[in-house]
Amino acid sequence: MSTYVALLDGGKREESIDVKLLSPGVYEVKIGDQLHVVDAFKHDYGTLNIIVDTESYSVQLDQRATEVKVHLRDSVFTLEILDEKRLRMRRAAGKFTVEGKQTLATPMPGKVVKVLRKVGDEVKEGEGVVVVEAMKMENDIKSPKDGKVVEIFVQEGQAVEGGARLAVVE
């Protein structure tokens, strides 16, 4: 048996799931006090069909850098799934928080078209700090908290990779 922990709502909620292989393709899955026998068939990359009782679900698992997007019927659930070892490592690394220094990063590659704040400026939560253009559209990269801009890493006109650090707010 293996135990997995799913982190939901950006890490604010946790669910523990036990999985046991009964016979090839058949699993016993325990969530909370619910026990399910599930027949699972992996079709190809990212596509898993599971039959719970007689209900058949075609589930798409879109694995990203850390999270997985689970597409099911009309819903998309974004979660992180960790085994016990990974969960311990993750806990040691610290909980998700907006306390202290926060680094602003661009979620997509693009070009910095405007730096709205300078070092020392006060910012409110949700206020734009840097504008990054990608795919012909301008996007505000916003501050996650009230605070002061302590560092800016980019200049107007600069090209940035996805995940690049833009600024630090404290």
Partner: protein, 511 residues
């Protein structure tokens, strides 16, 4: 009688899904094809589908797809005798058509004079008014003085729209509800227009309440024939960007359709139009229609018309460019209902932030009445430099109700991994009661913004967790098995050379 000329090789001066769309028809017609590509598009689908391909520069379109000289040079090198411009990029640049003409290459589109006549909005409005085409009430020419402009706004009554004469894409366009807001909005529109178009001339139009955007597809040949090929309703828009288009429009009856069609043909004839064009109208709550602008190119949403008529508009464009005649008005028969949904690489949950990146998995729907006009494939890295639209998914069915159901079904089978798309947003829009009733206007996306962003259904959360946990278990289990298999393999050495080598090493014979 205009001369006919044969086209043997077409260069497609575009990228993405429209380049793929044009290449498909060109290949069906047995023509040789040439693609052009920037550094970011070396691996793009359109490059794979063309017979020849020419590199035209770095990723930014200003240094590649928009450089007239590079396209003309690519034609010269490949001896292409015609260019299809697609939409966007150089498609509505009269100087591009002129440059090709000078080089003896056929431009598959209208004459440059027609493009000039429709390019500046106030000129287009004046031409249309002179031809007896109804326009939105407004100033006949750009107004220079802000005091004069304000007086004009008061004379036609608020609310009004302040618009850029050189306008497009919503830049330099402001809605003004009250006289006290007029001057700041006017000045802001002037700055925006000057920055966006290098031309800060403004004019004023009456704002129509609950306007619908309905456009008519028209076609003209060099023999003086002009026809209209039905309408497309494009009122589902977000930030001046069309999202869902359909034909027929729920607001037109046969009489109004014919009236608009005839007006649209008149608009084209007034500027000596040739080839495919679209005349855009606004329809107000009282079902009065007004000329908005004419797009002198093939539209993104042209497949809606193709599905309702069985025509291939790209083939017709090429035939007109060869000097052939278009079908007669009576030969155009429309049937059923078609809807198009634009699949964008963007994340609606994060304020529609673009989502470029690598497509790790792609499965697209099929089945009756479905058409997928895509420009991507699994493994393709969607570049950050261009439009976020990756595909247009269409459904045709005998009735509107069935077309909606069919498109919903198909979108449910549309799977893109690695990047985020607006597919769930499209499904919510199609399912919205206001869309279902057909009673919607250009305010649809803004008015129902919250309802179109539905969070995941809590009743499926457990099932999602089960699936994710089993997938993780399988992954770990398979990894462990593969590891064990590799370890076993290492123990039973198959090669005799390796066995001898190892034995010698153990004896210490060879160092």
């Amino acid at each position: 009688m205009p001369e006919t000329r044969t086209i043997k090789k077409i260069l497609v001066a575009n990228r993405g899904e429209i380049a793929v769309r044009v290449l498909r028809t060109a290949r069906e017609m047995g023509l040789r094809t040439v693609a052009v590509y920037s550094d970011a598009d070396r691996g793009a689908l359109h490059v794979r589908l063309a017979h020849e391909a020419v590199h035209i520069g770095p990723p930014p379109s200003g240094e590649s797809y928009l450089v007239i000289d590079k396209i003309v040079e690519a034609c010269r090198v490949t001896r292409a005798d015609a260019v299809h411009p697609g939409y966007g990029f150089l498609s509505e640049k009269a100087e591009f058509a002129r440059a090709l003409d000078k080089a003896g290459i056929v431009f598959i589109g209208p004459r440059p004079e027609s493009m000039d006549a429709m390019g500046v909005k106030t000129t287009a409005r004046k031409n249309m008014a002179a031809a007896g085409v109804p326009t939105v009430p407004g100033s006949p020419a750009p107004i220079a003085e802000e005091k004069e402009a304000k007086a004009f706004a008061e004379s036609i009554g608020y609310p009004v729209m302040i618009k850029a004469a050189a306008g497009g894409g919503g830049k330099g366009m402001k809605k003004c509800d009250r006289p006290e807001d007029f001057l700041p909005l006017w000045q802001s529109a002037r700055r925006e227009a000057g920055g966006a178009f290098g031309d800060d001339r403004l004019y004023i139009e009456k704002f129509l309440e609950k306007p619908r955007h309905v456009e008519i597809q028209v076609f003209f040949d060099a023999h003086g024939n002009g026809i209209w090929i039905g309408e497309r309703e494009c009122s589902v828009q977000r930030r001046q960007q069309k999202v869902i288009e359909e034909s027929p429009s729920c607001i037109l009856d046969e009489k109004m359709r014919r009236a608009m069609g005839e007006v649209a043909v008149k608009a084209g004839k007034a500027v000596g139009y040739r080839g495919a064009g679209t005349v855009e109208f606004l329809v107000d709550a009282g079902r009065n229609f007004y000329f908005l602008e004419m797009n002198t190119r093939l539209q993104v949403e042209h497949p809606v018309t193709e599905m309702c008529t069985g025509l291939d508009l790209v083939r017709m464009q090429i035939e007109v460019a060869q000097g052939l005649a278009i079908p007669a008005q009576e030969q155009v028969v429309r049937s059923g209902h078609a809807i198009e949904a634009r699949v964008y690489a963007e994340d609606p949950a994060r304020n529609f932030m673009p989502s470029p990146g690598k497509i790790t998995y792609l499965r697209v729907p099929g089945g009756p009445g479905i058409r997928d006009d895509s420009g991507v494939y699994a493994g393709w890295l969607v570049p950050q430099f261009y439009d976020p639209m990756i595909s247009k998914l269409l459904a045709w069915a005998p009735t509107r109700e069935r077309a909606i159901a069919r498109l919903l079904r198909a979108l449910g089978d549309y799977h893109v991994h690695g990047i985020t798309t607006n597919v769930p947003y499209l499904r919510n829009a199609l399912r919205h009661p206001a869309f279902g009733s057909g009673d919607y206007d250009t305010g649809f996306c803004a008015r129902y913004a919250k309802e179109l962003l539905v969070p995941p259904d809590a009743k499926y959360e457990q099932t999602a967790l089960i699936a994710a946990a089993i997938a993780a278990f399988k992954r770990d289990h398979d990894e462990a098995e593969a590891f064990a298999a590799r370890a076993g393999e290492a123990q039973s050495v198959r090669s005799n050379w390796a066995r001898i080598g190892r034995a010698r090493a153990l004896r210490g014979a060879v160092r």
